[in-house]
Amino acid sequence: MAIFSFLDRAHTVAKPGYSRWMVPPAALCVHLCIGQAYAFSVFNLPMTKLLGITQSTPGDWKLTELGWIFSIAIFFLGVSSAVFGRWVEEGGPRRAMFTAALCWAGGFFISAFGVSIHNLWIVYLGYGVLGGIALGIGYISPVSTLIKWFPDRPGMATGMAIMGFGGGAFIASPLSVWLMGIFKTQHHVGVAPTFIVLGAIYFVFMMVGAIIVRVPAPGWAPEGYKPPAQAKKLISNNDVFVYDALKTPQFWLIWWVLCLNVTAGIGVLGQASAMSQEMFPGHITPVAAAGFVGLMSLFNMGGRFFWASTSDYIGRRNTYFVFMVLGFVLYCLVPYTGSVGSVVGFVCAFLIIISMYGGGFSTVPAYLKDMYGTRYVGAIHGLLLTAWSMAGIFGPVLVNYIREYNVTHGVPKAQAYNTTMYIMAGLLVVGFICNFLVKAVDARFHMKENENDIRGAAGARA
């Protein structure tokens, strides 16, 4: 439709003089909004009291039922980034950001309706399905654009955007609590109007990103930048078509590297509060544990920028080697910190671990760019995010069930996590081997000169 032509990739090509430093804030506009997902838990308790207002009544939703909202959203993040990755790549960042804004705001509005008529299935559909689709499309929408604008520092560029996803919760959490406080009355807890206001704010914020984002003109390069005449061992100058990437062993090796790195981090991230209190009874209070969780979130965000930027200097594969080796050492040390009662050692170990968890997310787009070129990196990244969905199941299951098993078999609570820590360290050994096996992509998968246009046109017609 003509009125939506401003969303086309052709209308987002930057004019001479456009500063590439406008693109990271455009990407952050989207990532800071969808990063709200990490703060969704602030709604869990209020949503268990929608009928009872001051306390839960028999008809109210249970925490276990509410937990599915986030799980469905993360599942659809993986599905939508894999399914829509090519469409995002070929349609351009503005169309993708606009679609993500519509879905994200729409998800909040539908959920507000679900809350107001007390129908949990509508909330699953709204925040879970539609919001999850927005998460997937929004997450990958600026990745390849940033890589094209920053060929000299691709890790730093994608690190900035993905840092926003980790930082979104810092804004969403206090904002949501403040809004619920304003809308709360004697007759309702204020969740539905908070969803409506958040949906409206996020839509505007994301649209600002969609408006200011630009793609570089063909052949554009940063001033003074000279692309390497000869490809380095693990940095390709050639593009690989999105579905051909799936046929390469490198894709699956990196898939496992990401999955194992995320599994190792996501399990402890969700259980950090309980784990710290149980491992150091009397030393870490619930209030201190909340502070620890906040500190972990900061390192999760900071690690995204730090490690991705570092990878520009030491290389992507070496960065993941650091994650695997350092992570292995730290996971093995955690039980020792518990046995000697070293709170400082425990906190430092987990802060570094969680920074590498964030770093794993932010370094992987540049890793894929090195392997498969820039043409379809966003779409390939979308396919790779299914590893995140898988890790989202593995990680918490490993931590929770092994702890439960140990406790029921008489292991003291302070030592109930030791087995899990050693298993996490073992997973990182497997990740190390996968990373070690990553070699340059075989030349037969490289796209030919005119293949780019033919496949692109086919994609546009599809």
């Binding site: 004019k15 001479p16 003089g17 456009y18 500063s19 430093w21 406008m22 804030p25 455009a26 952050l28 506009c29 800071l32 926003g164 930082g167 919760a169 810092f170 804004i171 959490s173 206090p174 600002v208 200011i212 870490i284 209030v287 201190a288 544990a289 909340a290 502070g291 620890f292 906040g294 500190l295 979130s297 900061l298 965000m301 906190v347």
Partner: protein, 40 residues
């Protein structure tokens, strides 16, 4: 001052970075204040 002739101005850059940076910095500060409870 402009970054290039008829291109992005420094004011536009400041506006764009402030738009995302101010809420993020406020959120980070709030989290840091809460995190300090770990050391009390």
């Amino acid at each position: 001052m402009t970054t290039a002739k008829q291109g992005t101005t420094s004011f536009q850059l400041l506006l764009a970075w402030g738009f995302v940076g101010i809420p993020l910095v406020l959120g980070v500060l709030q989290t840091l204040i809460n995190a300090m409870k770990l050391f009390q």
